[in-house]
Symmetry: C2
Subunit: 509 residues, 2 copies
């Protein structure tokens, strides 16, 4: 096969959904480590040829910055570029092995509030071999909270704890984003996945917010799956999903599953969207083993750049590049690591990083013939991050304190012994109601088979007249209990919010 380098292409200035921006948009670019520099060069070359109106500013991130003693992998002066351009096209980086280096992605996501991780997962069968030829879905993963808040405490000799935090603004922002994304990208259904049959309060909030917000999008079909069933369905029948919205940890797991099911993780781009800044990158790593050999596939970064172009209102250019890329894949032009199915293997032409970029450039202005072409629409406002606020704080509820869970470290005691001791030490305002160990009630009325660690949750409830307590009652209890020699390790207040109980019962309570 020969690549038709004579094909001419006039840069687009109109997108299907409105006129592209004509001024150059400043973007921040990082060339990264390993294969980063070569795939970024290829990507920028395609963008230039397609007439993308961008003004890249380069920052240094990754291995060299880490090794210079910066544990975050990004120099402090680089933040100002990100804050100014508010658009970041990022190549993969290498985090040096050995302790003390923090994940640059986590730092950037959390510091800049990039709350949404967008992962399109698309199959290109038969041009790329896959067991799931009809996949075309997008995972919208919450990106800031859940267990990734990183709040961990060793509690006792035996017990370690991580806090899972799920917040109303976090849920509202990501769920609303998912519906807005579905609508602006012509997608028909949003599936929510959570584990609210077990985590009724945290995941229950996520599901509840999903139900609240879906009512505002009657044009979009919706459904909810318990994450284990949903993930199983995704792994076997991905064609039945369109947009999936889910908390951070589940999103992390299912987005990797879905990407790998398409047949190649080398073809997927992703976006990390915040209210102020957005970051675009390939989902793969820096592959140092093939760096500098002109072997790497620039497709993941190129498709991330396509998402970036839509974000900065250059949907026309984005559409042209994406269709040229689809045509390239269809024509069998691919880097060495990709496998086509047997039916089209004869058409396969293996090229290097540069050759692949050339092939895409040669096809600018052409449409794919067998797979459906794409047609992006510019966002209604420019840039999209100044759209209406995704979250408005509601009026606070009437909160009443009604008790406190006191957690105790004790390797020697039995539940009965501890209960006796705590009952003696209780105060006029607070009485011991139950003790659990790893969530299972062990007093009163526990079972002898329950295995007990050295970590006891002791629930005290108000015995005041109105059933409410004040902070001083908790402090009084803590003083009595600790003076009595009990090793208190943490507390969790028990509250009602507008009369509704803000705490779960113990298993067996």
């Amino acid at each position: 096969m020969t690549i038709d380098r004579a094909s001419t292409f006039t840069p687009a200035t109109e997108a299907t959904g409105g006129v592209d921006t004509l001024e150059k948009t400043a973007i921040t670019v990082a060339h990264g480590d390993g294969i980063g520099p070569e795939i970024m060069a290829a990507t920028l070359r395609v963008l230039e040829a397609a007439g993308a109106r961008i003004a890249p500013e380069t920052i240094e991130i990754g291995e060299k910055v880490y090794l210079s003693g910066n544990t975050a992998g990004i120099a402090s002066e680089s933040w100002s570029s990100l804050r100014t351009t508010r658009v970041f096209l990022k190549a993969p980086i290498t985090t040096p092995s050995g302790g003390g280096y923090k994940s640059l992605n986590v730092t950037i996501r959390k510091t800049l509030g990039l709350y949404a991780n967008i992962r399109p997962c698309v199959s290109y069968a038969p041009f790329v071999a896959t067991k799931h030829p009809k996949m075309n879905l997008v995972i919208v993963r919450e990106n800031e909270e859940d267990l990734y808040a990183g709040i961990e405490h060793r509690q006792t000799d035996e017990v370690f704890q991580c806090l899972k935090l799920i917040t109303r603004p976090g849920c509202e922002k990501i769920v609303r984003y998912a519906f807005e994304y579905a609508r602006s990208h012509g997608r028909k259904k949003v599936t929510c996945m959570s584990k609210d049959n077990i985590m009724k309060m945290t995941d229950g909030l996520f599901h509840k917010v999903f139900d609240e917000i879906k009512a505002e999008y009657p044009d979009i079909a919706t459904e909810h799956y318990i994450i284990d069933i949903g993930a199983a369905r995704l792994a076997t029948k991905p064609e039945r999903f369109d947009v999936i919205v889910t908390p951070n940890l589940y999103g992390d797991i299912i987005s990797d599953i879905a990407a790998e099911m398409t047949g190649s993780v080398g073809l997927a781009g992703s976006a990390n969207i915040g209210e102020h800044v957005a970051m675009f990158e390939a989902i793969h790593g820096s592959a140092p083993d093939i760096a500098g050999k002109n072997l790497a596939n620039p497709s993941g970064l190129l498709l991330a750049a396509v998402m970036m172009l839509v974000h900065i209102r250059q949907a026309g250019v984005a559409t042209a590049i994406h269709n040229a890329w689809l045509r390239t894949i269809e024509d069998g032009v691919m880097t060495a690591e990709l496998q086509a199915e047997a039916s089209v293997a004869a058409q396969r032409t293996v090229v290097g990083t540069d050759g692949f970029a050339d092939a895409v450039i040669a096809r600018l202005g052409q449409m794919p013939k067998r797979v459906a072409p794409v047609a992006y629409t510019n966002p209604a406002v420019a840039p999209s991050w100044v759209a209406k606020p995704l979250y408005t704080r509601a009026k606070p509820a009437r909160k009443e304190m009604v008790g406190v869970d006191v957690f105790v470290h004790d390797a020697q005691c039995s539940p009965e012994f501890l209960a006796g001791r705590l009952s003696t030490l209780a105060t006029p305002a607070l009485q011991l109601q139950m003790i659990t160990n790893r969530g299972v009630k062990v007093w009163p009325g526990g079972f002898p088979e329950t295995f007990c660690t050295d970590h006891w949750r002791c629930r005290f409830v108000a015995r005041t007249e109105d059933g409410h307590i004040a902070h001083r009652h908790i402090i009084e209890l803590l003083a009595r209990v600790t003076e009595g020699g009990v090793d208190v390790i943490k507390t969790e207040n028990l509250c009602t919010f507008d009369g509704e109980q803000g705490f779960a019962l113990g298993q067996g309570q």
Copy 2:
């Protein structure tokens, strides 16, 4: 096809790995709801024909018990049967819709300490259609702790919390079980999956215990995957896994994925193993829509019963039933819901629940011809739950308190304002070191882009001479802070254990 009802079968009294028990073993049986009674009848009929030496005691669980007003779905007198026989063969049940009913499985698992959930996931291609013809793996899921402790608290108007608890005994028990299982079942590799790149303390403990215990099993190959990569690999290349051991939540997700990938969730049994009691069941539900129609497939419960027979040292009978079952599937005898691949579809004979049991009984004593036969070995001790303790408590570490995280509910404040207030209210022993919001440091030196909820974690560290504090210092701080009008919602003590820091740094700290 005709079923050869004339075939005779002599009950086995010897297993490949030692003599089966000859006395009848008492087991507790629950017939369940929906299709439960018919698949249990079919299963017990096969067990009897195969010469299983069991003495079933029947208990009532499920829908009727729930609707009689018992929120746990199991009558209190049924516990004594479970405690006496210590072996439970359970049919699926229906949990009535509407609130207040607790998961019976969660109650049984937690109350009786069934710490290990064992899920074999096997493909039977081409006899059962699947995209993954070479799967033959076992997932060993931790069953008691992790986020399933069910300890949830609403913290503020905006923030809900669930505690993830990972314990050393929990990790040691499940990891040791996985290696013992691998060894006794002739499996060659144990793969650990965790998310210890993010949850360095909790999942870090799981991974660390895995590394400690694997050294005791040099005959078994080992590997570790970050759960997102591991799940992706499982969903695309399941043939590369053998035994997988993982914490509760990840195990919940990947065991459903793997089961569905085999082509049918109707063929899989599972075991829930404790130190005192073990429960065996199909992984599917009670399917009320086809109940009583002689349509249900009894295979899941039958293969669960096979696991039970091995557990009670009747490996010979277990082997005979399993091989007869494999031969039945191979012969194309199946219930209506199963799909065979095109190459063997002509051999397919659709039967009902009863007919399937007849077909298995007719093949007792026969071996499969195309798929590998099974050969179970009796456990070294009888019964296996009195084997050496899976966990021995270590000597406690030297614990020193060095600070406290105080969590504050405030919808109005800025980080700087809160820091100023808390610094003023601090005590001689404790000073404010940092404030985070959803784990991201917002003081000192926060970023303006960080979205803040009404939930603040305020870290106070010792400014005593030796760097240590006592409980009274925390109580003194809490008194000062709450008297100053700050709404404290919880605390987490900061400790060192043998000098090692028992708490994570804030993101950006």
